[in-house]
């Protein structure tokens, strides 16, 4: 079993090597590898894989393909498959800059490396494997951002690389201090090592999960990067930091309130900035920030929420290709092609928590968790989230009557069906039947579905009302811009310092 698990972890990298040699094989190889990842997630949920596979016992080198890993693996596999199905952004993309099309095979190659690194980060439970996997994620993302190869893209890549490597150095210090005290690199030893090492580890993981102040680089990067890369970033890359963070939080009870405070702040900040935004892609990025805040609120429900959010956000970015202009101010005057509108509406509905999409079940599970005093704040964030996405719902839709098979729909002429976005939107509907989501539905159904449905209805109504009211106000409201490199570095250091102070008591 151990050999099979290691082989499964190595397959993406092997496929990446083959893609480097034979670029034309990149797409089929990536799809196969994604399928293997999804199959692994299914095998875990079917109970065919042991929860813990020790490789080197005393040092804590263990793989844990457990129930927490499965949703993250699923989102990794599906998002990478969807992005590669749609391919790199075509040149002269109306929503992005004039990025030239990258050479064939580069996107699948880097997506494969990214997938391998993400999978390792999700199943690893020792600090050094997590470190190596996260560094590899960082390098892959940096190269993905630089795919366009002009100076704007390079600057984004360099900013990301600098920030990511800095936080990983802090992580390594934390890992060293844990080893110094406990003599092992196992994740389970981190809670015993005291406040400062724990704070350094958490700070790095929080930064990798794009939470709160550490996620401030996201809006600008997502607004300028190719949409395929944005989909990978907001859909899958965030899981690399969040999965180990949730593992750590499950092992460390004192960490949970700290993360809850951070998560609520992060969710609120993201919603406020998203409401003030006038650009579709920046709005989506701020919403990622806010949703990641909700993911870390409760370790038990985080994975499901991350799954729902990752699939929906990647679908939103992929379908944003068919949007005539990312400017939100005249959104309701510009019609959308049905091929764009259907995945866009499904995915945004899921994040807003509309039944029967996956987001509804995930939000329901979150509210079932013992949120205690946080509950009104989470409800407020829910209303804000609906208001954010209600901004995308008003546009008239063209050609709704066209059959779904018409992939090269000539009538609209503004965008064809995106296979990737459709795959993700379908997953949002179909995953409700899968075994991790069923308990969430069952728990909701036990107390009667009436109350959650009523609550969701009220939330949606309040959100739409809020959006209509805000629509009459003039945007932008002049919120501070904190997205320069120096702001980002300062934010990281502040966050790390706050965590050290907060956790070393």
């Amino acid at each position: 079993m151990i050999a099979a698990a290691i082989a499964w972890l190595l397959v993406p990298f092997l496929a990446a090597f083959i893609t480097a040699l034979a670029p034309h094989q990149g797409r089929p190889l990536t799809l196969l590898t994604s399928a293997a990842t999804v199959a692994m997630a299914a095998a875990i949920s079917a109970g065919w894989v042991p929860e813990s596979l020790p490789l080197l016992g005393p040092l804590g080198v263990v793989l844990q393909p457990d129930a927490l890993a499965a949703p993250f693996l699923l989102v990794n596999g599906l998002v990478v498959a969807a992005v590669v199905l749609d391919g790199a952004d075509p040149g002269g993309d109306p929503t992005g800059g004039p990025s030239p099309e990258p050479p064939k095979g580069r996107l699948p190659l880097l997506a494969l490396v990214l997938l391998g690194a993400l999978n390792s980060a999700v199943v690893a439970v020792d600090l050094i494997s997590i470190y190596v996997a996260l560094e590899l994620v960082g390098v892959a993302v940096m190269l993905l951002l630089a795919l366009g190869n002009d100076e704007r893209d390079l600057w984004l890549a360099l900013r990301y690389g600098l920030l990511s490597n800095t936080v990983m150095l802090l992580f390594l210090i934390g890992a060293g201090l844990v080893y110094l005290q406990q003599g092992t690199f196992a994740l389970g030893a981190a809670p015993l090592a005291g406040g400062v090492p724990l704070a350094l580890l958490v700070g790095a993981l929080v930064s990798k999960g794009e939470l709160f102040l550490a996620g401030l680089w996201l809006p600008r990067t997502n607004a300028q990067a190719p949409l395929a890369v944005s989909a990978l970033l907001s859909g899958a890359v965030v899981s690399a930091g969040v999965a180990p963070l949730l593992r750590l939080a499950a092992l460390t009870p004192p960490l949970v309130p700290v993360l809850q405070g951070l998560g609520v702040l992060c969710a609120g900040l993201g919603v406020v900035f998203a409401l003030a935004e006038t650009d579709l892609r920046r709005l989506l990025a701020w919403s990622t920030l806010s949703q990641m805040g909700l993911v870390v609120l409760w370790p038990a429900t985080g994975a499901l929420l991350a799954l729902a959010h990752g699939l929906a956000k990647a679908a939103l970015f992929l379908s944003a290709r068919g949007v005539p202009s990312p400017d939100l101010r005249a959104w309701r005057q510009r019609p959308l092609a049905a091929a764009t509108a259907v995945p866009l509406l499904l995915a945004s509905g899921s994040i807003a928590g509309v039944p029967p999409l996956l987001g509804f079940a995930a939000k329901g599970a979150l509210e079932k968790g013992a949120l205690g005093p946080l509950e009104p704040w989470v409800a407020l964030v829910g209303v804000g989230t609906v208001a954010v996405y209600a901004r995308l719902w008003g546009a008239p839709v063209l050609g709704l009557g066209t059959p779904k098979e018409g992939e090269a729909d000539p009538t609209a002429g503004m965008g064809s069906w995106s296979l990737g976005a459709l795959l993700l939107a379908a997953a949002l509907l179909l995953l409700n039947l899968c075994p991790w989501v069923r308990p969430a539905w069952d728990a909701l159904a036990n107390d009667g579905l009436g109350w959650p449905l009523l609550k969701t209805g009220a939330t949606v109504a309040a959100g739409v009302g809020l959006e209509r009211w805000l629509e009459t106000r003039r945007r932008p409201w002049g919120l501070p811009s904190l997205e320069g490199l120096d702001d980002l570095l300062a934010a990281l250091v502040l966050l790390a310092a706050a965590l050290v102070l907060g956790l070393s008591r």
Partner: protein, 126 residues
């Protein structure tokens, strides 16, 4: 005073100096180099942790039997771990420096605030 604690404090001071350089320098090249100073500090920390149990290089060889030299062995695990860290740090550093040389075409002074402004896209908010 325990020499290990003194060295540990010095190593962490190196990391702090690197971090301050990263925060306070406006020049991109200096920022990247400051990050390398931080990296050097982290590597020294691991070497120091390895040396806590002894100073002998933990390599068995047939030429010099284990009996030669009576010092205690250094801990091989942190050394092995940081070897990976060094390789990763080196490759990331190389990648950042390549990107920096390309960006020097845009702004030869490599001023980060200016680069932030210059690279704002046409669709960015003003």
């Amino acid at each position: 005073m325990d020499p290990f604690r003194v060295l540990e404090a010095l190593v962490l001071l190196t990391v702090l100096i690197g971090l301050l350089g990263l925060l306070l320098r406006r020049n991109l090249l200096l920022k990247v180099l400051a990050m390398d100073v931080m990296g050097t500090g982290v590597i020294s920390l691991f070497v120091l942790i390895a040396a806590r149990s002894g100073l002998r290089t933990p390599i068995l060889s047939t030429d010099t039997p284990a009996a030669v030299g009576d010092g205690a062995w250094a801990d091989p695990i942190p050394q092995a771990v940081i070897l990976t860290g060094i390789v990763i740090g080196f490759s990331v550093q190389a990648l950042l420096l390549v990107a920096t040389t390309r960006l020097a075409r845009l702004d030869p002074r490599l001023d980060t605030a200016r680069l932030d402004r210059l690279t704002l896209g046409p669709d960015a908010p003003t």
